[in-house]
């Protein structure tokens, strides 16, 4: 089951790369929770429920940039938790911002049930209990 969870998360990133916001919600449970409280964005709610919220969140976030790419540099399998270490490059006109951050996915019964966003890998791993 653990490897299946990793595969579901990978499919979510592949769909995100294609900007396929119909597939991404289909991978989530109806009560999917997106929690960015550990890495908040001004004017964005830091907790939202439902796959529609997730799709709206990403569409709105991406609309703020002229170009945006995100690479997953490492995936850590923690049974029902999957940690993805990410690096993004966001452009708006001449401005470019590059950041490292971490996603902590919770997967249950073949569906994504929660995504928490952290500023660092350590914070994400600490939240999973994989790091003391």
């Amino acid at each position: 089951m653990s490897q299946e969870n990793v595969e579901i998360v990978r499919r979510a990133y592949e769909a995100f790369d294609r900007r396929d916001f119909e597939t991404v919600p289909g991978l989530g449970s109806p009560d999917f929770e997106l929690d960015i409280s550990a890495h908040p964005i001004p004017d964005f709610p830091n907790v939202g429920t439902g796959t529609e919220h997730m799709a709206g969140f990403f569409a709105t976030y991406l609309a703020g940039f002229s170009d945006y790419t995100m690479d997953v540099t490492e995936v850590i399998d923690g049974e029902d938790k999957v940690v993805a270490l990410c690096h993004d490059t966001a452009r708006l006109g001449p401005g470019v911002v590059e950041r490292d951050f971490a996603h902590l996915w919770t997967v249950s019964a073949g569906s994504l049930v929660r995504l928490q966003v952290f500023k660092t890998a350590d914070e994400a791993l600490e939240a999973t209990g994989l790091k003391e």
């Binding site: 001004p42 709610p45 939202g48 919220h53 709206g56 709105t60």
Partner: protein, 130 residues
């Protein structure tokens, strides 16, 4: 005094949610200090007028629909894990704003309010651990 401090915090939230800003600020000490969460345009507000301006901005961006998810009575300090329903002014996204407030009281008045996105960080600031 500890239970009285909790009552002050609960009363203040009630004033906030019903939009009675004068009563809300009335429970704050004249020399109150407020430390906003990371990322807020200004981080430190000193005195009632400054605190009022912070909350007026908060009401515009986050709204007034706040509830307490968890409360810890730690004597002079009250830790409240909050959840406020909001719609982003620019983003238009609807959802919740979750944060933790650490409130320090003296003589029945709020003297320090600190806001944190990370609950664990708030507990550390309050001298508590999860």
């Amino acid at each position: 005094m500890s239970r009285e401090n909790v009552e002050v915090v609960l009363q203040d939230l009630e004033y906030w949610n019903r939009g009675d800003i004068d009563a809300f600020v009335g429970l704050w000490d004249d020399d109150v200090v407020l430390r906003a969460a990371e990322g807020w345009p200004e981080r430190v507000f000193r005195g009632k007028d400054a605190v009022r301006s912070f909350y007026e901005g908060f009401a515009e961006t986050v709204g007034r629909d706040s509830l307490i998810e968890d409360l810890i009575d730690a004597g002079d300090v009250v830790v409240t894990r909050m959840r406020a329903h909001m719609t982003g002014v620019q983003s238009g996204l609807e959802g919740d704003m979750r944060f933790t407030q650490v409130t320090t009281l003296r003589n029945g008045k709020v003297v320090l309010a600190e806001f944190f996105w990370d609950h664990r960080e708030a507990l550390k600031a309050a001298g508590l651990s999860e």
